[in-house]
Amino acid sequence: MSQPTESGGIQASSHNTGKAAPGPLPDKYYGQLPDWEFNLWPSRTAVIMAALFLALGFTVNMQITERIDTIMWGGISPLWGLFFFALWNASGAMFFGLPGALIVANVNPIVANLTATNPLAPVFFATNSLYAVPMAFWTWYFKEEGEGLTFFQVASAHVLSIPLAVVPLAFVWIFVLQLTPPVVAMWFAASCIAGWLGILIAYPFAKKLLASGVIQQ
């Protein structure tokens, strides 16, 4: 089981101490996430509220990045949004199970639609959910009692889930924006790459949240 540290953080369980890499992030090899208690379907109010606050952080983040996307390329693809969205969606799904994944994924699109921050906002419900829900299932599949996830496990789940998130955007490019197939292919590839790169900030972010102790409180 995980043990609280003096600073209130969570240290990896004793049997995997050799693999854990606590301390300031990002560390050289990204190491392994400390252990946390994972439940695929938690129903406590505390979990719902924690996910909601994470969703609000996500929304604040997206209010900035989606507008930058709109200014830079008309918002045809939320490339900066895709780079940053794993920061919050991955944490919500890994730490708070399916309810957390769904809350984090669906609060931002409500605000994005109401504030018209991005022209593609109506499909963000699907985009976020198609990333967050698989991430929750991947966590449930990979996570073992008393052990955290390795960078490889999180990155694999992330790399497999990102293209799913881009599929709803492709529907808009094809049916609403009526872009030609080569242009759709270009945006699809660019969006996947931007999304995949997001793991480089999402993983240290998740690890730092765990180490700070705010997840298990």
């Binding site: 406590r44 109010t45 505390a46 719902i48 509220m49 924690a50 909601l52 606050f53 994470l54 969703a55 609000l56 952080g57 929304t59 604040v60 983040n61 209010q63 900035i64 507008r67 930058i68 709109t70 200014i71 830079m72 390329w73 008309g74 918002g75 045809i76 940053f84 920061l87 919050w88 944490s91 809350i103 609060v107 409500i110 605000v111 639609n113 109401l114 504030t115 018209a116 921050t117 022209p119 906002a121 109506p122 609403v176 924006l177 009526q178 872009l179 030609t180 080569p182 242009v183 900030i201 972010f205 730092k208 949240l209 700070s212 705010v214 997840i215 409180q217």
Partner: protein, 267 residues
């Protein structure tokens, strides 16, 4: 980093209409802009939505001028991409920049699509400017979403400005400690500084969440009993009238587009 979610207080017709009926207005506009592709039709829809917000909502365009400006890169980007890449038979190159040529049909189609997305955004803004966060939550609850989750929308919309303020405070704290990126005039450096601020934002808010959860549970959040509210939504004559008009508009639009074939853009 100003929030564009601004409920614009007032006592206009749009402010008084039930959010469920108002959402039908949004759907009617969406059906119009998604089914027609003639730029004249879409420009008309764009202007009509501005007029509706002004006349029925009492909100002049000057109040959301920044949003209208934000649509410009979108319309330009879509028009340029379509002009450059879409050349059906019969289309002519009207502008050539070296090897790149822009077709007349592509530019018009791009303009239509840009106007379509801009009108969609403006319509959603109309909804948010004339609907309180409380009504959004109550409306979601009335259409069948359990209170436990519908309340999250109200809560989120209320707390969002506070979270934005928290981020601003964190950025200011970093700036006064000499972080050169935060206050930089270089937009890229300022943008680069953001991720470092997201961790304290998330950690602070997660720390608050357990106390908020306790406060909510003490007030019966999550209880299985049926909830009642002091202020409730009820449909009145104007809501039924709005519903009938919107359904009629949707019916006419579908008939005009599907049966009569009106509103298509042909090369």
């Amino acid at each position: 980093m100003q929030s564009l979610f601004q409920f614009s207080g007032g006592d206009s017709f749009l402010h008084r209409v039930d959010p469920r009926a108002k959402f039908l207005v949004v759907l009617a506009v969406l059906s119009f802009v998604l089914l027609f592709e003639d730029p004249v039709f879409l420009a008309t829809a764009f202007v009509t939505v501005i007029a509706i917000i002004w006349v029925l909502g009492g909100i002049p365009p000057t109040e959301y001028f920044t949003l209208l400006l934000a649509f410009t890169p979108l319309i330009l980007a879509v028009a340029l991409i379509q002009g450059l890449t879409y050349r059906p038979p019969g289309a002519e190159i009207v502008v050539a920049l070296g090897p790149a040529g822009f077709s007349d049909y592509g530019l018009l189609l791009g303009l239509s699509i840009g106007l379509r997305l801009a009108t969609m955004g403006l319509t959603f803004m109309m909804f948010s400017m004339t609907t309180t966060p409380k009504d959004v939550g109550l409306g979601l609850n009335k259409v069948g979403i359990p209170f436990k989750y519908a309340y999250l929308a109200t809560f989120g919309l209320r707390f969002l400005p506070l979270m934005q303020e928290d981020l601003r405070t964190i950025q200011n704290a970093r700036a006064v400690r000499g972080d050169p990126d935060v206050g930089s005039k270089n937009l890229f450096r300022r943008f680069k500084s953001l991720p470092m601020s997201f961790f304290p934002l998330a950690a602070n808010s997660l720390r608050q969440s357990s106390e908020t959860a306790k406060a909510l549970e003490l007030r019966g959040y999550g209880a299985d009993i049926e909830r009642t509210t002091v202020y409730d939504l009820s449909l009145e004559a104007r809501d039924y009238a709005t519903t009938v008009v919107c359904l009629a508009v949707i019916g006419i639009v579908v008939y005009a587009r599907v049966v009569l074939g009106i509103g298509l853009l042909t090369p």
